[in-house]
């Protein structure tokens, strides 16, 4: 059976086509789907596309920003209002991949990819999806946990809060091949400061579990404290809690567990 490509004018039509066909897969930038097709993934028989303008809209003026699922990383980088997302966007692929790869597609990227999602996870994003039964917003963490069962739903957009200052959001990707290798691990931290103390700390880790995860123990170690050496040390030693990394060609599970605390300490203390 040959592969059928279906292009729709609206996102809702595309979502309908996606939910009615088990072998359908939505084509965003194509960095995942086209690779799968070229490598002979026979589970995909239908490729669904949508030309809906809403999917490529960026709403960056409000305190809560919204990125359409079809927004490419190159466009994120071109947007001055999204300066806090430039580091995560720049850490993905080379220019060619950033020109094609989309914010929505990154949510589905398996390890050692999906770095942008780590940043979104630290920023407490919500994902707007449309299934056969209408659209709804899901917290990103819930979305990631059910990612494998998301077939049939279409991601419309992602929205997240804008960090209060450039200090409040930190991101770091550890890669063996610079500037565009897969990640050994990826770390992002959102640390809103209120009255000198951290309120609502969010630490997210990539490549430390089957999906991107929050480092909740490290968050607890930071919550309500000022960002001093003792707090950072406590967070760093708690970083490993709840992680379940796996071996791959970029690093072993043992290595990832050994160094996650080191990298978190560097991230929090602002070391290069």
């Amino acid at each position: 059976m040959a592969v059928t490509v279906k292009t729709f004018a609206s996102a809702s039509e595309a979502a309908g086509a996606l939910s009615s066909d088990r072998t359908a897969r939505y084509l965003g930038g194509g960095t995942l789907v086209m690779r799968a097709l070229n490598e002979g993934d026979v589970s995909i028989s239908t490729v669904v596309r949508a030309q809906d303008q809403a999917l490529t809209r960026i709403d960056a003026s409000a305190p809560r920003i919204t990125l359409g699922a079809g927004v490419t990383f190159a466009r994120v980088l071109a947007e001055r209002d999204l300066a806090f997302l430039h580091a995560p966007a720049r850490s993905i692929g080379g220019p060619a991949v950033r020109n094609m790869g989309t914010v929505g597609g990154n949510l589905f990227a398996p390890n050692p990819y999906g770095d942008f999602t780590v940043a979104l996870l630290a920023l407490d994003a919500t994902v707007a999806v449309q299934g056969g039964f209408g659209s709804r917003d899901i917290p990103i963490e819930e979305f990631l946990q059910a990612r494998e069962r998301q077939a049939g739903t279409l991601v419309l957009s992602v929205s997240c809060t804008r960090p209060a200052s450039s200090e409040a959001f930190r991101y770091r990707k550890i890669a063996r091949i610079k500037p565009k290798g897969g990640s050994v691990m990826t770390l992002a931290a959102h640390l809103p400061i209120s009255g000198g103390r951290i309120a609502g700390a969010r630490i997210a880790l990539g490549s430390m579990a089957p999906t991107q995860i929050r480092a909740r123990a490290a968050e607890r170690a930071l919550e309500g404290r000022s960002l001093d050496a003792a707090t950072i040390a406590a967070a760093a030693s708690a970083a490993i809690e709840g992680t379940s990394p796996s071996d791959n060609a970029l690093g072993s599970a043992w290595y990832r567990r050994e160094v996650v605390g080191v990298h978190l300490r560097r991230l929090l203390s602002g070391q290069e």
Partner: protein, 532 residues
């Protein structure tokens, strides 16, 4: 920028050559930079079929049953090729030059020996239909114990990977399980050395990652001939290999290659052409067989992983007096070119240094990993890396500058190399001097004045008495004493022996063993069997 130091060795070089030392444009460069070069995959022939391969999901398993009934009924399938359809289903590249035994089937028949080994080939109208049929082939495996480590593979009782070589080592000259180098008495010299340093170096397999993956398009031509567009790096090897596997005269084929989209050694094994031609023979249509990127990465041959142990004896003044090397080449499940890599490695020991006592054992070992092959300096690159790391560590151990340490030990014209050939036109000292100059690395005056044409020969040209392995008791266990290397100033210093070492035994009267004793004679080339 290219800089030729024509003042060095001016009298040894003919400067009336037409090409060497002059800038010449490569003949295919214009096509590459203008994007007009034509590669094998640029040929889309009318009625072309596509071949895809079912690969083993097991590292080591007996094949109980192959069920292709569902795949045969799959849409677009023109032909299913099994091992029994391949005329001569056992091959190795170097057997064409009488080096090594045929050990690798084009399609596995009774057993798979590595994950990704091809078992069934499917020829279909489109790539997609071929992939769909591949997914429908059912193979029933009986898993066997596998071995993934070179030293584990040599242990008694290890699983036999490749029945052609039941001891899991390649057989050299139909007799020897490894390549040997013996020059002087390394053990005696190690016993008298001031410092002994043993280190282990472990390399990883390296993927060539060419932009163009391995592939071929074969098309029936007139007069029963076949036209083959191929990505091969070794066109005539490829023609002969196909002729052998398909059991036809080699003039049956018209191979068109020459433009390779990146090879680096990963395209010398004839992997895709035989099945593409067989597909064309069986269907009468052009057949295209190209590796996907994942196939290329996972199942295309990488550089073999080498494990190297180096044990050096060095005196306080910086002279290396003994070097013992054990190297294991991980050939993967089949020979391909690793056996030759081990020969090259043995030919490279002990590096470009004059060492009076050298002892080397190089093994080509079979494991249940992807077969390894050629890659840029294979056999030498890893050994050079290990030797040069070792040189830095030794220099540190004797508190010498690493550049000066290399100049001190470098071979000079007239020295005897461990392979019992006199060193000629050596230029390592000059290379180190130029490198130091470029790096603004200070060298002491005496080392700046050193030359590869001075201080060689004489006592350095003597072949030392060399005990043969049979004349001494074989050590039961490798009693390798290890001196750990750390970054502190060297503290591990052996007391000089109280008594002078016993005088060297008189050289045996020109030992000419009647039996062919490989290591004791001069190094033999790949054509070693022909030499005798």
């Amino acid at each position: 920028m290219l800089e030729l130091r024509k003042d060095i060795f001016a009298d040894e070089r003919d400067d009336n050559l037409n090409e060497i030392g002059k800038g010449t444009q490569r003949q295919d460069m214009l096509g590459h930079v203008t994007g007009t070069s034509s590669y094998f995959n640029d040929h889309k022939l009318q009625g072309m079929l596509h071949l895809k391969v079912v690969r083993s999901t097991q590292s080591h398993a007996r094949i109980r049953r192959i069920d292709t009934t569902e795949a045969e009924r799959s849409a677009g399938v023109r032909r299913i090729i099994r091992g029994a359809d391949v005329p001569v289903n056992l091959n190795t590249l170097l057997s064409l030059i009488n080096f090594g035994k045929d050990d690798e089937p084009s399609l596995a028949v009774d057993k798979v020996r590595y994950k990704g080994e091809p078992i069934v080939a499917i020829v279909a109208d489109s790539e997609r239909e071929a992939f769909e049929a591949v997914a429908k082939v059912k193979i029933d495996y009986e898993p066997l114990p596998a071995v993934f480590d070179v030293e584990d593979a040599l242990k008694p009782g290890a699983p036999v990977v490749n029945e052609t070589y039941p001891k899991n080592t390649f057989t050299y000259h139909e007799t020897y399980d490894h390549q040997k180098l013996r020059f002087g008495d390394a053990d005696a010299a190690l016993a008298t050395a001031d410092h002994v340093l043993e280190q282990r170096y472990q390399m990883s397999p390296i993927e060539h990652a060419p932009t163009e993956t391995n592939g071929a398009i074969a098309a029936p031509d007139t007069n029963g001939r076949y036209l083959v567009y191929t990505s091969t790096q070794a066109l005539f090897f490829s023609v002969d290999t196909c002729a052998k596997i398909l059991d036809v005269p080699s003039n049956t084929f018209h191979f068109i290659g020459g433009t390779v989209g990146g090879g680096f050694g990963g395209k010398v094994d004839t992997l895709t052409e035989p099945l593409a031609i067989l597909g064309a023979m069986l269907t009468g249509r052009p057949v295209r067989y190209v590796f996907g990127r994942e196939e290329e990465m996972q199942y295309g041959p990488p550089r073999g992983a080498e494990r190297i142990y180096i044990k050096d004896g060095v005196m306080r003044d910086g002279r290396i007096v003994a070097r013992k090397i054990r190297a294991y080449f991980d050939s993967g499940a089949y020979t391909r070119l690793s056996s030759y890599a081990a020969v090259k490695c043995a030919a490279h020991l002990p590096g470009p240094y004059t060492i009076p006592n050298v002892y080397g054992d190089v093994y080509c070992v079979f494991t249940n990993r992807t077969p390894a092959t050629a890659m840029r300096g294979f056999g030498v690159t890893a050994m050079d890396f290990a030797i040069e790391c070792q040189m830095d560590k030794l220099a540190h151990l004797v508190n010498m500058d690493p550049m000066e340490f290399r100049i001190l030990n470098a071979y000079r014209d007239g020295d005897m190399k461990a392979h019992r050939r006199e060193a000629k036109n050596t230029a390592l000292i000059e290379c180190v001097q130029v490198a130091a100059e470029k790096a603004k690395w200070p060298l002491r005056e005496e080392f700046k004045r050193a030359s590869s044409r001075k201080d060689g020969g004489g006592s350095r040209a003597v072949i030392p008495p060399t005990p043969t392995d049979s004349s001494r008791a074989r050590p039961t266990a490798p009693a390798q004493q290890r001196t750990s290397y750390d970054r502190l100033p060297p503290t591990v210093t052996r007391e000089p022996p109280r008594e002078p070492p016993p005088p060297a035994p008189p050289p045996p009267p020109s030992p000419r063993p009647t039996a062919p004793s490989h290591g004791a004679t001069r190094f033999s080339s790949v054509f070693g069997t022909r030499r005798r």
